[in-house]
Symmetry: C2
Subunit: 141 residues, 2 copies
DNA sequence: TATTCTATTTGTATAATGCAAATAGTTGAG
DNA sequence: CTCAACTATTTGCATTATACAAATAGAATA
């Protein structure tokens, strides 16, 4: 098994509750979990480690958030779980697998992310074009 | 003056509190307000109308959210406000203007949005490449 | 003077997030 | 055998962000 998991949770820090400035996409962990499960069934810890492979090292993944997402997804029928066959040390693990509903939900998520992407680009373009104009105005003097 | 404002607030609907599935970028309204103020000082209602010009027609803009963001931004020194000189009907309006701190904050936001954009693209690429592989595997049989 | 329009403000419920700590089983050291 | 360390999951709770509703308020006008 690979190196220790360094994602958030069970690590020292200060303060409580949601910090200000959380400027990321809401619930973005959800599609990241679904995509991994589309590949093959996995348990929570493996899903957390797998986030790195999705280029999400920088996305703050709180362990409790992950498990809570998993419970919610199971409750809404997007995934199913069963006890892990191979008990390779540690607490009893549940292995999660994607259902057809979950696959459709992932597709839905991807479409929504595409919309977010368009929104983001329109904003960034508006920003850049505004800045260009602004520079022209104030640049010459 | 232009047509009636059709953004959320003072419009009929059902239910209370944050609905599930809010899958957008958190606090995204904030940079949208700041960018508009970088152009020129405006009051709340004009800022709400201006969202459309930023391609944010589809982004659900709740009026209360906007004003609360404005109060917060003022409290943290990103913007300043003064009473509107021209009182063109309606409630007394405050005109907001960007401060140098606010300008820096906007720059910061843009950098953060760039990071979100990269994250989003890495995910979408991972999704697409995974789906391609998956199709190859299951396609032939 | 009542209604309508423009515009702002406040109340409140719920969801999402972040941090901390508890729980639980396994393995190896002594 | 017992304790510590490691793997992994679960729970508690505080705070922020958001959604919806409604109250407030001044100006114009019918």
């Amino acid at each position: 098994m690979r190196g220790r998991c360094r994602h958030r949770g069970n690590t020292a820090s200060t303060g409580r509750g949601a910090r200000p400035q959380p400027r990321r996409i809401r619930r973005f962990l959800e599609p990241a979990l679904l995509l991994q499960l589309h590949d093959q069934p996995r348990h929570g810890y493996a899903l957390i480690e797998g986030l790195d492979d999705l280029g999400m090292e920088s996305y703050p993944a709180d362990v409790s958030a992950i498990y809570r997402l998993l419970y919610g997804l199971e409750e809404s029928g997007m995934i199913t779980s069963s006890r892990d066959a191979e008990e390779t040390g540690g607490a009893p693990r549940r292995v999660y697998a994607l259902t057809p509903e979950g696959e459709a939900y992932l597709t839905d998520w991807v479409a929504e992310l595409g919309e977010t992407d368009r929104l983001l680009h329109r904003f960034l373009e508006a920003y850049q074009s505004h800045m260009r104009e602004h520079e022209e105005e104030t640049g010459r003097e």
